[in-house]
């Protein structure tokens, strides 16, 4: 087991290096490089731009720039924001709690919806519930996330006035109820696509599990209802855990959209703000840290799967 974990980590390191090269190349692809923003500004003198280039190390050979950036990233020196000059790590860390709050709640909502949907659909295969939930889940994975957010705002915030349309809390207020009200719509939007996909996945792995001999054996021993479901669920849940972890990258993309629509002050809005101002240090840090998180989660999913199911080699 330890050897397997070590081997997976050994594969993850070159993967992270490749990702870092991609991210670095991306920000150097801009015609004017990272100082592009200033080139178009007539109030910035050419000699100032030149000074900035030297200060940022942009006059160095590309390889050295890359190595310096990589060294900085690994040691936690993520540079300074082009926009407000504060350390990128500070800007990311102050946005992180909001994003984690949104993502964890969406995860909970998505799982809370996917489990009953998937299980009931598998038990009543081809019944009316199965058919309705199939249609609903297809609609769920086909929804344009931003539009779904706009429609929910339109109905529940503007139309009915039940929920706030954006933000993380009312100005000045900070009660738990207020926070939950603000969280409800964005968490639903971010959760929907995953609830749809995961319920479909759970349904099909439940259908397979229910046909396994050990479930028949359980039935033969006289078990019914809940206990049979519990038997089958134990095997059916295993592959789902992998799928949930592998969907981390999709959730990051979803968070960018959701946070922007609902003005949620997390990493996703930080990304869109940084993009609008071409704040390259922030953009690089965002891509690099989210991709690293995805790689680590995939690695954990692989190793965890081997721990729970030793048959896998």
């Amino acid at each position: 087991m330890l050897r397997y974990a070590a081997r997976r980590i050994a594969v993850a390191v070159p993967l992270l290096l490749l990702i870092s090269m991609l991210v670095f190349a991306l920000t150097r692809a801009a015609p004017g490089g990272p100082v592009e923003m200033y080139l178009a500004n007539p109030n910035v003198r050419p000699e100032d731009i030149e000074r900035l280039r030297v200060a940022l190390g942009l006059d160095q050979p590309l390889l050295e720039q890359y190595l310096a950036w990589l060294r900085g990233f690994v040691t936690g020196q993520w540079g300074y924001s082009f926009v407000d000059g504060r350390p990128v790590t500070t800007r990311i860390l102050e946005r992180l709690p909001a994003t984690l709050e949104l993502m964890v709640s969406s995860l909970v909502v998505a799982l809370a919806a996917a489990f009953p949907l998937g299980i009931i659909a598998a038990l009543r295969q081809r019944g009316w519930f199965d058919r309705v939930s199939t249609v609903a889940s297809f609609a769920g994975i086909s929804l344009p996330v931003f539009w779904f957010g706009l429609v929910l705002q339109l109905v529940f915030a503007i139309g009915l006035g039940w929920l706030p349309s954006s933000g993380r809390s009312a100005f000045g207020a900070g009660g738990v109820a207020d926070r939950l009200e603000h969280l409800l719509l964005p968490a639903t939007v971010l959760a929907t696509v995953h609830a749809a996909a995961w319920s479909r996945f759970l349904r099909s792995s439940m259908v397979t599990a229910l046909r396994e001999p050990f479930v028949t054996a359980a039935r033969a021993r006289g078990l019914t209802g809940r206990s049979v479901v519990a038997h089958a669920l134990r095997t059916a849940v295993l592959p789902l855990t992998t799928v949930v972890m592998l969907d981390a990258a999709i959730m990051v993309s979803g968070a960018v959209v959701t946070e922007s629509v609902f003005a949620w002050p997390g990493l996703g809005s930080l990304f869109t703000e940084a993009l609008a101002r071409r704040d390259y240090t922030v953009l690089m840090a965002f891509l690099m840290s989210t991709a690293t998180a995805v790689v680590v989660l995939n690695l954990l999913a692989d190793v965890a799967y081997r721990v729970v199911d030793p048959r896998v080699t």
Binding site: P14, L26, P144, I158, V256, L275, A291
Partner: protein
Amino acid sequence: MTGAHRIVGRMALVGLLAMAVLAVLAPILTPYVPDGIDLANRRAPPSLSHWFGTDELGRDVCTRVLFGARVSLAIGLLSAAVTAVVGFVIGSVSGYARGLLDGVLMRLTDTMLSVPRLPLLMILAAILDPTIPMLIVLVGLAGWMETARVVRAEVLSLRERSFVLAARACGARPPRIVGRHLLPNVLPAAMVATTLAVARGILLESTLSFFGVGVQPPTASWGNMLYQAQSTMSTEPWVAIFPGMMILLTVLAVNVLGDAATGAA
């Protein structure tokens, strides 16, 4: 595959074809032009003369949705074609060559799958200011990984079959074996991945345009119509509802079709 399954699959196909016909015939179907400003009829709710209402400049939303369909469908279909070509080449080379080349190509695939797709595309689109053909290539290059993995897995098992050995015994070189013998066998599985890529392509285009880095006005696409609708949504909900419905229905139809194709593959 059940009967109901097949019927739903056919309905989806008919719906998509109808959508394509409407998009192609857009100029003769509507009395308006997509960027025809009519200041006397601004913000008009849906009516007989303007089925989907008009926007803040008095442009007919229905007309813009029809013309937007051309852009959105074209980007969805052509970007999926890009993913199919790149995915097939990388997947088949990887699966047929195995060894070091396979390792390198699969690490590249893992890399692209680890970086969140939408932020990556948004940065590229913001930097490059893409025209529509460039946008097609960008969206396609962000989505070949799934196809490559599917093709590689198929080729890995197919290359051990005796018909490949027979072809090799006849002196066929790897490009011929891959192109003539493996490609037709990989096609069904690759088709499913490509269908899903169409759905993803339409969603990505609309999302990029919604953020203002995709298709640029005045050209209408479903995504940039929603970008413009965002600020006026509370007073004129129809400018936001209809383009979004079109995205939902189209992507839904493509996904249903992909599901039916999985059953057939």
